[in-house]
Symmetry: C3
Subunit: 338 residues, 3 copies
């Protein structure tokens, strides 16, 4: 694409060599003369002046001497649009691979791509345009919506419901039994895990992440929520819309998470906790069982506390030795004076 074509696509203002050909997108520091890069922050503008990029997406109002630029309202978002145009995702051909095992009563839309060794059990439905990678397993009665991408080796237990435009990465397990037992006569008796799991539209779930079905109720992942690799979501957990849950976080049974919540990596949430809308939880933080984290708060630490408070505690901790020395000095001083 020429710079002028990209500017048109983005409704942006091009400055410089509008005829230059752009063949790919790249990071600012690695971009070459046929690459498009983006400059997000004013701070990055200085770095951008030395960039070898063929064209730079810059915020409206910014100027960069000697560079070919396109000014847009949201440069990073604009790059996404150009990347989609320049690097369209490889689309496997529609059709069911001859090695796939598909139950006769499964309903797979005609334009789906079903890869090698896929197994689709009875009463499954798969919506239009959905792609099932090699070795995907869809258990009895599973429903998968339209335009989904299930990467190789995704396992979906019977009965799970998956919305539209959902992306599931390799090795993810959807709808396995929750971890529930009744202790009786010296052993743990398995409690029924009969509930549902519902994954709403536009959710993305990372590699080898595990999501359990409800025990009696349902596990729900709300629309637009993005979950990273190796995350654990236990039975009956309800997660709202447009959340970001970073890798290796674990959410225990029956906890509720609101909309637009962000959890950094390795966060642990005890059971029956409630994390309200727009909360941000710092990395490795622990939310105790039953705890309510109020809407909009930013928390860190185990047990989690308001971020600013916890940071003070950390600073104090680093000076705990000095504090102890002071107390010792005071004691000595008083002893001397007596």
């Amino acid at each position: 694409m020429r710079v002028s074509e990209i500017a048109e696509l983005l409704s942006g203002t091009a400055v410089g060599d509008a005829e230059r050909e752009i063949r790919g997108v790249a990071a600012l520091e690695a971009a070459g003369p046929n690459d498009l890069a983006y400059v997000e922050s004013p701070r990055a503008l200085a770095q951008a002046e030395a960039s070898q990029a063929g064209c730079l997406l810059v915020p409206e109002g910014a100027s960069l001497a000697g560079q070919t630029t396109i000014a847009v309202r949201h440069p990073k978002l604009a790059l996404v649009r150009v990347a989609e145009a320049l690097h369209p995702a490889a689309t496997p051909p529609a059709g069911i691979h001859p090695t796939a095992v598909v139950a006769p009563d499964a309903q797979v839309a005609a334009d789906c791509s079903v890869g090698p060794n896929v197994v689709i059990e009875g009463e499954v439905t798969v919506g239009a345009g959905t792609r099932l990678g090699a070795g995907v397993f869809l258990g009895q009665g599973v429903r998968v919506g339209a335009q989904c991408i299930l990467h190789p080796r995704v396992t979906v237990y019977p009965g799970a419901q998956i919305g539209n435009r959902v992306i599931l990465h390799a090795g993810a397990v959807i709808g396995s039994d929750g971890f529930g037992y009744v202790f009786a006569e010296g052993r743990h008796v398995k409690f029924p895990q009969l509930g549902k799991i519902v994954i709403e539209d536009d959710v993305e779930i990372g590699s080898n992440t595990t999501l359990d079905r409800g025990s009696l109720g349902s596990t729900i992942i709300g629309q637009g929520t993005k979950i990273d690799n190796l995350v654990q979501i236990a039975h009956n957990v309800k997660i709202g819309r447009h959340c970001i849950i970073v890798s290796q976080t674990g959410i225990s049974g029956s906890s509720e998470v609101g909309d637009y919540v962000v959890m950094a990596g390795q966060v642990g949430v005890g059971d029956h906790a409630r994390i309200e809308d727009r909360v941000v939880v710092g990395g490795q933080a622990g939310v105790l069982p039953g705890k309510i984290v109020r809407a909009g708060s930013v928390v860190w630490g185990t047990p989690c506390r308001p971020m600013s408070e916890f940071k003070k505690t950390i600073a104090r901790l680093a000076r705990l030795d000095a504090l102890a020395e002071k107390v010792k000095a005071l004691e000595k001083h008083l002893e001397k004076r007596m």
Copy 2:
């Protein structure tokens, strides 16, 4: 089932509409007129009075005006029994799917169900009534007992021994190489990982959990122990009977865990630690390498300490700022007086 039939099954005492038909089990707050629910604690009794459930399992001696109830000794356990009767697990038909690849010298009991794309290598034995889900891999010489359920995509490395009534969830890896190297001449040389892994009867293991074989000795998971999703068990670890190990916990090499131990989520155990019988380890706690945690103790924190002590430290931590202020005030006060 009618309420009267359920009461008979449980040897419980029905009060109310004994002819009512019950079609399923449900959570107390979600149960409808054809559902059975249970009331575990006296505290839940109040909530139960407003329940729409068709029938409630209540503790012996409890009464609930206007509700149909069955009084039993252990309501939650009773629900398990009824759920088994009302929702018997779907049993796939016996037989070996034509796409399965089974070595000629493997011994698979006649009533087993072997799913699509299962791979069974040489000298494997699989006991009566065991079900192998789609894509399960059993390496050379693996032994699987009777009445086991291996969900899709479970991978069992060569030589692993699995007892009876064991449940392995999707993506679990049993018997991979432990993480052991010898450092020599600037690089890490792989130490032999030749040991065994033994999973005793009635163990359940969660999705994408990984268990390594012993390096020279054995890794052992004791009878009745339940392990959640995404747990890591390293080489030569010995876990006793009837333990509960919650999600994302990791146990390092050669550590020993007694019977009836409970580990909450995201616990880390260093190598060569010993956690004795009936210990409870709180979420995200860290047990240092070589540490011995005495029988029956309840510990939390990193490094883990007795729970009550650690809770006090946490409370103090939240007031550390105030303590520092006090010391400052004392210093000022003394300065003034000098």
Copy 3:
């Protein structure tokens, strides 16, 4: 092998019954009369005197009355050599299993072993002597070097580059999309994940570990680095050579790790951090985003600090109650005197 033959293999000095037959290697405490064991440290020598092992590898200069020994410079490394001779890894026959699905334009070296249900997409190359276990998936354009072992159900996304003698354990996912979004108009828009992932020679990667491809740049795992089970490596992370990364550690996007770094289990590293050569990070430690950990340092805690300092803080923490009592006593004392 006879003891004399083993001594010759190791260029070591045998003392005792040089004709004894050794059939296997074993741990010191479990070894029997036909087993070889090793004694690493002087401290273990006492324990070794009571060993039933048929032969013991001991450090040069050590003597063990009544035992057959071979003195070598590095006993543990010597055991590795003997184990390789006594227990050569089972080698599956070369050839492509009839159930494997291999694209016509894939180049698989003639002596490779390609297991059942393996899927190899177009333009893939696989080097000499490499073994692909059952159900391995190699996406479009993947390059795998020579003498690699990919255990069952490893998933390699399109475009990933894997060096020589690399070992990937079951369920590992190589090159999945990084976790990157642009927030716009109330939802998270997927940022392009188009970068590369390069795994250099002699790397070993544990079961169900996940490694993301770069977003625009590359993710790189350096030569000889060993990664345990259930580890997460995010997009654009660069890891140097000969590192040890223990289970359940997570490294966030764009962070850089030097050579010979050791990370214990469950470590969390924020994004854009830099961990320089030969750093050791203690278990469960947290390295904050953007943090630089200087070469050779040993750190622990969240946020991580020098190990010796953090240990002091831990010790102080356990005495925080006593410190608070002291301050209270000082306050009372001064009140009385006023």
